[in-house]
Symmetry: C2
Subunit: 285 residues, 2 copies
C-alpha cells in the first residue's frame, strides 16, 4: 500500500495519530521536500517518528517515481507531505502512477495553509482563486498573479498568496550545460512578494492601466510551532508598516496584538528587519 500522509503545518507532533501509526510500520518512508517546508527539519521528524526518512526532491518524485513505488504492492510505503497531500495537485501524478501499477493507496489528510488560513479571521468561504507569487528574474517578470488578485477583489473575494520556494534548482547556465550543480535553497519572504506587487502596481499606472482598488491589508500567516504570526501592512501608502505578532488574530482587532510601527521611506517600503520565518504565505484581504 502507498500511503500519502499530510504532516500539517507546525512541527513533528502535527502528524495525526493515524499517520504516525502508519509511518512507524512502513518499510520505507519518504519525505517530500520541495513544495513546502516545516519549521522543524528532517532530523526532528526522524527522532519523533523513530524512523529514518528518505528525502524525496523534485527530481526523485517527478523522474524516478518508480523508486518510490518499488514493491509498494508487497509492503507499505509512506510518502510524507508538509500540509495536506493534495494542497497542490503535484502529487496526483504519483497517485496515478500507483494506480497504473495496480498499487493500492490511501490518503491521510491534515491541515493545509489552504484551510488553516481561516485563523486570520477572514471567512474561508470568501476566498477566490489562490495565486502563486513567483521569484522574478532579470528577464522574466510575470504579472499574471496580480491580475488574478484584482479579479478576486472585483468579485469581493480574498486571495491567499503562496510564496515561491526554490529548492535544488539549477541556474540557467548549469541547466543548459547539463551540469547537476544546484543553487542554494531560496524561500520568498513576505517583503519580497510585497515589493514585486508594488512594482506591478507602479508598472500598471505607468502604462495607464487601472491597478484597481488594490490591497488594503496584506496579512502574512506563518507557523512557528502552532503559533500563527500575522503581519498586516499597507503597501499602497508606503508610509507606515505595522508589524503585528500575535498568537491568533480574528479580524485583526483584539488585544493580544503586540504592535510595532515602523516608518519606511518610499523606495524602501519593507526595510524593517525581515524575520526569517516570515515566508511562505500571505493573504490579500
Amino acid at each position: 500500500m502507498l500511503y500519502l500522509i499530510g504532516l500539517g503545518l507546525g512541527d513533528a507532533k502535527d502528524i495525526t495519530v493515524k499517520g504516525l501509526e502508519v509511518v512507524q510500520r512502513c518499510s520505507r518512508v519518504y519525505l517530500e521536500a520541495y513544495t513546502s517546508v516545516l519549521t522543524v527539519g528532517k532530523e526532528a521528524l526522524e527522532e519523533f517518528y523513530g524512523r529514518k526518512l528518505i528525502l524525496a526532491d523534485r527530481e526523485e518524485v517527478e523522474q524516478n517515481a518508480d523508486n518510490i513505488l518499488r514493491d509498494a504492492d508487497l509492503s507499505d510505503v509512506a510518502f510524507l507531505v508538509v500540509g495536506d497531500p493534495f494542497g497542490a495537485t503535484t502529487h496526483s501524478d504519483l497517485v496515478l502512477r500507483a494506480a497504473k501499477k495496480g498499487i493500492p493507496y490511501r490518503v491521510i489528510h491534515n491541515a493545509s495553509i489552504m484551510n488553516a488560513v481561516g485563523c486570520c479571521g477572514l471567512q474561508l468561504y470568501n476566498f477566490g482563486e489562490t495565486v502563486s507569487i513567483v521569484f522574478w528574474t532579470d528577464t522574466w517578470r510575470p504579472e499574471s498573479f496580480f491580475d488574478k488578485v484584482k479579479k478576486n477583489r472585483q468579485n469581493g473575494m480574498h486571495t491567499l498568496c503562496l510564496l515561491d520556494i526554490k529548492v535544488k534548482e539549477q541556474s540557467l547556465e548549469n541547466l543548459i550545460k547539463g551540469r547537476k550543480i544546484y543553487e542554494p535553497p531560496r524561500y520568498m519572504s513576505v517583503n519580497q512578494a510585497a515589493q514585486q506587487l508594488l512594482e506591478i502596481v507602479e508598472n500598471q499606472r505607468v502604462r495607464g492601466e487601472e491597478p484597481g482598488g488594490f490591497v488594503t491589508i496584506l496579512v502574512a500567516v506563518v507557523y512557528r510551532g502552532f503559533i500563527p504570526i500575522i503581519l498586516p501592512t499597507d503597501p499602497i501608502n508606503l508610509s507606515v508598516l505595522v508589524e503585528i505578532i500575535c498568537l491568533f488574530c480574528p479580524l485583526f482587532n483584539h488585544h493580544y496584538f503586540s504592535t510595532q510601527i515602523t516608518k519606511a521611506g518610499k523606495g524602501q517600503p519593507f526595510s524593517h528587519s525581515t524575520r526569517p520565518s516570515l515566508k511562505r504565505h500571505f493573504v490579500l484581504a
Copy 2:
C-alpha cells in the same frame, strides 16, 4: 489556556499527536456537535482519548460561552471541532470572548473539507466561493446559493457545496411558544441538495432566466474512515445516474472506480438507494 482543536474528518485517530496530548491533560474537554459530525460517535472518541467529553450544542456555545470559558485562565480547557476549528467563522466568537476575558488560547489545526476536497483531483487553487445549501421549507426556498455557483462557473471556478445540518433545532411553533422541544437531527443528503438545485434550474427557465451552462459534474466527497467516496452525476440530463465509489479519484479517470449505472426517470432523478453516509459536502466542477 483555551485550546481549539481540530479533529479532522475521519475517526478518532485523525486527531493530531499534539491535539491528543492536550486533550489528555485538560481539565475539561468540550465536543462541538452542531456544525459538523464525525463518522464515529462521542463514545468512540471518549474511549480513544481516555477522557469524558462534554457535548456543546449551539445553545451552549452561543449563549452560555461563559460556561466553557470558566476558569480557563487557571487551567486548560479544550474545545474540539470536527475538521478544522476555523473552517467556518462560527468559533471566532468564542475566541474573541476568551480574548476579552484575558484568557490565552491556542489553535491546533487539522484537515477540513475546505482543503481535503483536493482529493477529488480538482485543483484546490481553482475553487471559488464556498456555498451552503440550506434545507428548504414550504415557505422559504432561497436560490441565492445557486447564483453563487453560477458566478463561480462564469469565472471558471469549481464550487464546494456544504450541505445543511440541523441539530437540536426547534420547530417554528415551538420557537414562538418558547417550548424547548427539539426536532430530530437532520443531515441533507447529496440527493436532496441536487433535487433543490434542479428545481432552481427549472424555476429560472420558467421565469425566462438563463440558468447558465450549469452543472456538468456533481461530486460528493464523504469520509468513511479515511476513504473518500465520490459520486458524480449528471443532473441535467436526468437520464443516467452514475454512482462511483472509489478509494481516491484524481480527475475521475483511473481504474479504481467501480461504477454502477442507474437509469432514473424524469421527476425521480435520484431514486436510487441513498447511502446514509452520502451527505455533508459536494463539489460542482
